[in-house]
Amino acid sequence: MRLLAAICLLATAAPASAAQFVVDVSERTVAITAGFTGAELVVFGTAAEAQRSVGEEHGVIVVIRGPEQPTVVRRKERQFGIWANHGGVAFPEAPAFVWVAASEAFADRPLAEVLARYRIGQDFLSPTPAGKDIEALDAFQAALVRRKQVNGLYSAEFGRVEFLGEHLFRTRVVFPANVPVGSYRIEVFEVRDANVVNVTASALHVRKAGLEAAVFRFAHDFPILHGLVAIVLALMAGWLAGAVARRT
């Protein structure tokens, strides 16, 4: 309801020809609780220039990227008849999650081509490795992106940004159940021809909440105590089961 009201407000506020470039998101935090199966939120706003005819080189690109995570890409090789990891490349700052959407003018074109054109997202399309002069680096970079796409953590193609009228746009973002926790950045680009004419950035947080958060924090902040509690819980459960079984 709040979202709908906000959209209506934006719609009425937008003048006919040139508007302000304004962007907002329906939720600022995604809480992972016990029953978490993914989350959906809406990014919406107004483009400064009017979206007039279909096929024109004007539109909006939305990029949401997750926390940077040290990631190692390993390659398997056959040794003594067994496929084993042999060699790997570390990427110290690969984003854990990347989601992109674009409006109609770009949505059906290859993702890499459009992003390269506007110089958006080089860091996740060709992430920087830890060392230099690594053999077959391209293969490792491509593998990082491919594995992330297979796991649903990187977009393989554009999501859809819809225009409602000439200025107002919105897009629905779906976070999968395996979404990594941390700070996210939402970047919205308004592009015309070969240029980025407007850009905004805002923050989004994905965090564990409730029991899940408490258990995780306990496991990490007090690892020894956590181990002891885990043992005691199991001992009690086992003893109880034995006692019940003897009764029956």
Binding site: I32, T33, A34, G35, F36, T37, Q69, P70, T71, V72, V73, R74, R75, K76, E77, R78, I82, W83, A84, N85, G88, A94, A96, A139, F140, A143, L144, R146, R147, K148, V150, A177, N178, P180, V181, K208, E212, A213, V215, F216, A219, H220, P223, I224, H226, G227, L228, V229, A230, I231, L233, A234, L235, A237, G238, W239, A241, G242, A245, R246
Partner: protein, 305 residues
């Protein structure tokens, strides 16, 4: 119904976990095994990260072994002196195993190490068990009981540090049970198993312990070793997922009771063959995965190394 596992950091169907716990529990009750050697590979198959699977399974085994130890203790079927010697080796072994685990994880070889350990040990134990149970079946058919020698003197009896184990009526070197405990401790940390499937045959054939003492004494050692592994994995790697362990446990508690009751009614010798076949099947499946070309040669490891 999905549940988010806080340490594994993924959502899994609650009923799948309960079902796995129950299924493996039935087998545990039926054959008197801990079931870690089945549960850990199953958890890895459904996508739980191997380090979390191994550590959480150790946590669950604490519960399955405690009720067993108590039951055997009440019947006086636990040789505590032997158990403590095994345990001394076990604690040292599991500490070494957890350290080795961390090292291999950093090298990116932990998945391979886990699989290889499974292939080797399931292969050996499965074949031995199969041979032994088939021989027993044949003997049963023929109806001839073979009489063995009362005491066979082999190299084992020449080892130093001899100790007297009254309950098992043994006078043997403490070195051998210590080494057996050590090996089982390393395996517990790396494979997420109690190690009963190695220790029980070793106690019978290498130590020559009376069968009445074997189950209780091995469970005694396992209880403390899996507790040590749980504590060390939690402290060193933060990979124990209590929610996962509790769900598996809830399923297995019921399963074990069903299995025990089934076991009383079914012919045990035939079922030993089945268990041996199952052990071999799990080993072969893991071997198959190692030798066939993977779909994608590349894999990712994220987070701190």
């Amino acid at each position: 119904m999905q549940i988010y596992l806080p340490v594994a950091e993924l959502s899994v169907d609650v009923f799948l976990l309960l079902g796995m716990g129950a299924g493996v529990g039935v087998l545990s009750g039926l054959f008197g095994v801990g079931g870690g050697f089945l549960m850990t590979p199953l958890l890895i198959f459904i996508g739980i990260p191997p380090p979390v699977a191994v550590a959480s399974e150790a946590n669950q085994l604490v519960a399955t072994s405690v009720s067993g130890v108590l039951a055997h203790w009440r019947r006086g079927a636990v040789d505590f002196k032997m158990g403590l010697v095994l345990l001394a080796g076990g604690v040292l072994g599991s500490a070494g195993g957890v350290w080795l685990f961390k090292l291999l994880r950093g090298l990116g070889q932990i998945d391979l190490a886990i699989s290889l350990c499974y292939v080797v040990f399931l292969g050996i134990v499965g074949s031995l068990m199969m041979a032994e149970s088939l021989r027993a079946l044949l003997r049963q058919r023929k109806g001839v009981a073979r009489r063995g020698k009362l005491h066979r003197h082999i190299w084992i009896h020449g080892l130093p540090l001899k100790m007297r184990f009254q309950k098992s009526r043994l006078y043997i070197s403490a070195v051998l049970p210590f080494l057996i405990g050590l090996l089982v401790g390393v395996l517990a940390a790396i494979m997420g198993v109690g190690g009963g499937f190695i220790m029980v045959p070793a106690m019978i054939y290498l130590l020559g312990m009376p069968t009445s003492m074997v189950a209780g004494t091995s469970l005694f050692q396992i209880l403390f070793v899996v507790s040590t592994v749980t504590l060390l994995q939690s402290a060193a790697n933060q990979t124990v997922d209590v929610i996962l362990a509790l769900l598996l446990l809830a399923g297995s508690v019921v399963g074990v009771q069903v299995g025990t009751r089934l076991g009383a009614r079914l012919p045990s010798e035939q079922f030993r063959v089945l268990l041996a076949a199952l052990v071999l099947a799990v080993g072969l499946k893991l071997l198959f995965d190692l030798v066939t070309a993977p779909d994608d040669l590349f894999s990712l490891q994220t987070g701190l190394l």
